[in-house]
Structure formats: C-alpha cells, structure tokens
Amino acid sequence: MDKRVASLADAVSTIEDGMTVMIGGFGGAGAPIELIHALIDRYRATGHPGGLTVINNNAGNGHVGLAALIEAGMVRKLVCSFPRSADPVVFTELYLGGKIELELVPQGTLAERIRAGGAGIPAFYTPTSFGTDLAKGKPVAEFDGRSYVQERWLKADVALVKAETADTHGNLTFRAAARNFNPLMCMAAAETVVQARRVVEAGAIDPETVVTPGIFVQKVLEVPDPAQEEDLNLAHARYPLGG
C-alpha cells in the first residue's frame, strides 16, 4: 500500500466544479498552502474547479492561501466560524458585495459537525447557540430540563490537509496547534489529500503516536518546506506571485 502521489497537480486533480472542499488550519497554523495554491494553478490553467463550497474555520488572510482561492473567484460559499483576520479584505469585499455566501457556525459546533460527518452521526444536540440568531430554523429539544439545538453533520468531497509526518499508509502526525481541524477533516471527506513535511515508510511512525490513522487518508504528498501563511503575509505576498 502506497498512497503517495507524484505532484501537487496530482494531489488536487479530483476536485471538480461545485464540490465541497474542507481545508484544514486555524488561521495559518495547519493551512495546506501548497495544496491550495496548486488548486489555484489548475483553475488559472483550465477554468476549473469553480463554484466550490469551502469549509474552514476562517475566511483567509491577506492574498495567499484561502484568501487567494477566494480572490481567484473559485469559491461560491464559505462555511466558517470566524471570517475575520488581520487582513480579511478579500472575503469582506466579496461578502459585502453579495458575491459570496456565508454560513456562520460556532467554532465548536463546526468542529463537532465535521467529526459527526466522519463518524456517521447524522445529527446531534448541542447547547451552543440556543436562543441566538445562529439557531434560527434549527430544531430544538429539551433533555433533562435544558434546551439544545439540533445540528447536522458536515461532509466534504475532498479535504486538503497539512500534516507534519505521513507514512505511505497515510498515518499522520501534526505539529503543535497546527493539528486543529486537520484530523477531523480527514475523517469527513470522501477523499483526503495530505501535504506532509516528511513522508516516511510504513512502520516509521510509532503506532502509539499516530494522530490520524491511515484509513482516513487517500493521498499523501511530501512538501518538505511548506510556507507559513503568517510569514507570507508579513512579507505582503500575493498568490499567484505575479497576481
């Protein structure tokens, strides 16, 4: 078993128009910048994929990564908890112009809905958002005298994920707080595509320290020196570089 793919282009080759794509990361930590940029390259070369629904905690920062994906016009709808950042101008302008749809989800509910998608739980109840605008239209129920909101699972066609180490079976470890949504998204997508700083042979990761077991991963690519969104933004980078 060897889940390695040959290139960034291969890694993102199955994403089609209108698909739902989960993208890991919390702000820049754990954001699979190179996979996102490869997807932008494909769109610039072929006009596809467009009309994407993207699930991420944020809405991008500056003009790289997720912000660049949105700026390229590839995203129809964003599902996130916090579409603000140091420099959210790309999303903000499209949103205020009515050109991108936003589904705002409390952060813990977002995480749990993704996990539920991965775990085969179509719906669950949470106290979060009860009595607020974000619960409007959702079923509510009382358990043991307290009120809860029913939330539905979230699934995706493809997840783009950043890991620290991957083995050829797709077992993953992450780095510090770059873990965040990545392990959950691995579970919730039909195809999980991973960029890892190191790809090692099966057996090179201690089974005790595997965070995401390989069953949740379909494609693995080594990206040895990944860009950090925060560094790119401090340097006022734009993607594509000539853009």
Binding site: M1, A119, G120, M187, E201, A202, P207, P213, I215
Partner: protein, 223 residues
C-alpha cells in the same frame, strides 16, 4: 454427505473478493479465517474494533502480549504502518463508512438483506458487541456461513426469525455451497458448487434463488 466447502474453503473464497489496499473488519470466529487467505500481491489492512489498524498473525504461544488483542480477545501482532486509537475513533471508522468490507458470521440472512447473528432468543445472556455497528458501517457487508444449520435447516430465508442485527445490510453471502448476492430484495445466485444442481441448492435455501446473467462454478483449492 454431499460435497460442501470446509470453513477454510469458504474463508478462502471470501478472501478472493478483497481488493488490494482494502480496509477490512473480520467478525469473531469463522470470519477471522479470511485473513490467512489473502491472494498473493494483495495487501489488506485489518481493523479490529478495540482499537488497532493493521494487525497481523497471532504470536507464538507463550509470547502473547495481553494488551495487544483483537475483538475476540485473542493475542495478535502488528504490521508496519499500524495505529492505535480509542473506541470512539474506532467506531467512527466503522459507522462513518471508512471500512471497505466487513465480513460477519450469521444465524440467518434474509432475501431483503436483514441479518440475525447476535441472539438465538430470549434465553441465556444476550451479548451484541460491535456487530450492530459493523452492519451499518462498512461499504460492503458480507456474510460467511454454512449454507444450512447443523440440523440441515436453511439459514438463507425469506425473513429472519431470530432477533435482527441489522436491517437490509447484507450484500453478499459466501456459504459452503454457493456465492449469493442480495440485491433488490432477492437472493441472486452468482456461483455454486459444480456437483450440486440448482434444484438441490434451492432445496436447501429458504427463499427463491434468482439468476441474472449466469451462474459460475464455485471453485476453491483443497485447504
């Protein structure tokens, strides 16, 4: 006694349908035998619901590590690329549709895909384990079983009579006599022992056997 496959031969036949790279959960007992008949060149990854992916053969006697066991509480070993995880993650794999195949034993299977394999009725101590989760999780749920009970009664029925494990969940049945798909509420016969006539097979089956396309000979090696 007429020709029928041994347990090992049923397991061998089931193993032939497991694709390279498949993630597989094998039920306790007879289904466990499937692991040893993986076709050469194919690598399946076995999942056990108590928290291991990619376990291997039992260790030599006396070298058991009782923290390294499968769902049947038998000692196992690890293969390269193994992972440990807790029970909620393990059943996320199951319930979330991440397993390619689950192969289970059966008391009864019905032509609507219903399976009964956890309870023989109200007497005794009931125990279910992970069976009810597995039947609603794996992409493909197969059964391996003798074609009839020890008393010679059909195990493949129009409707299950015993308490159900799952509703409409089984898609393929490997028996000591045949390979049968469950599709559109019918048993569709795919393979049968060459020495057995269709009528003889039907006589040991509790619901009609449909034929689509053709019926191949069920051929297995001596084991």
């Amino acid at each position: 006694m007429s020709a029928r496959l041994s347990s090992n031969q049923i397991a061998w036949r089931a193993a032939q349908d497991i694709a390279d790279g498949a993630y597989v959960n094998l039920g306790i007992g007879l289904p466990e035998k499937v692991a040893q008949y993986q076709p050469p060149g194919r690598e399946a990854i076995f999942h056990t619901e108590n928290g291991i992916l990619n376990f291997g053969e039992p260790p030599p006697k006396g070298e058991e590590d009782w923290d390294l066991i499968n769902a049947g509480k038998r000692a196992v070993t690890l293969k390269p690329g193994a992972a440990f995880f807790h029970h909620a993650d393990s059943f996320a794999m199951v319930r979330g549709g991440h397993l390619d195949v689950a192969i289970l034993g059966a008391y009864e299977v019905a032509e609507n895909g219903d399976l009964a394999n956890w309870s023989t009725g109200p007497k005794g101590v009931p125990a279910v384990g992970g069976a009810m989760d597995l039947v609603h999780g794996a992409k493909r749920v197969a059964v391996i079983t003798d074609h009839v009970t020890k008393d010679g009664k059909p195990k493949l029925l129009k409707r299950c009579t015993l308490p159900l494990t799952g509703v409409g969940c089984v898609t393929r049945i490997y028996t000591s006599l045949a390979v049968i798909d469950v599709a559109g509420g019918r048993f569709v016969l795919r393979e049968k022992l060459a020495s057995l006539s269709l009528d003889e097979l039907q006589a040991q089956t509790g619901a009609p056997l449909a034929i689509e396309g053709g019926v191949a000979d069920l051929v297995v090696p001596e084991l």
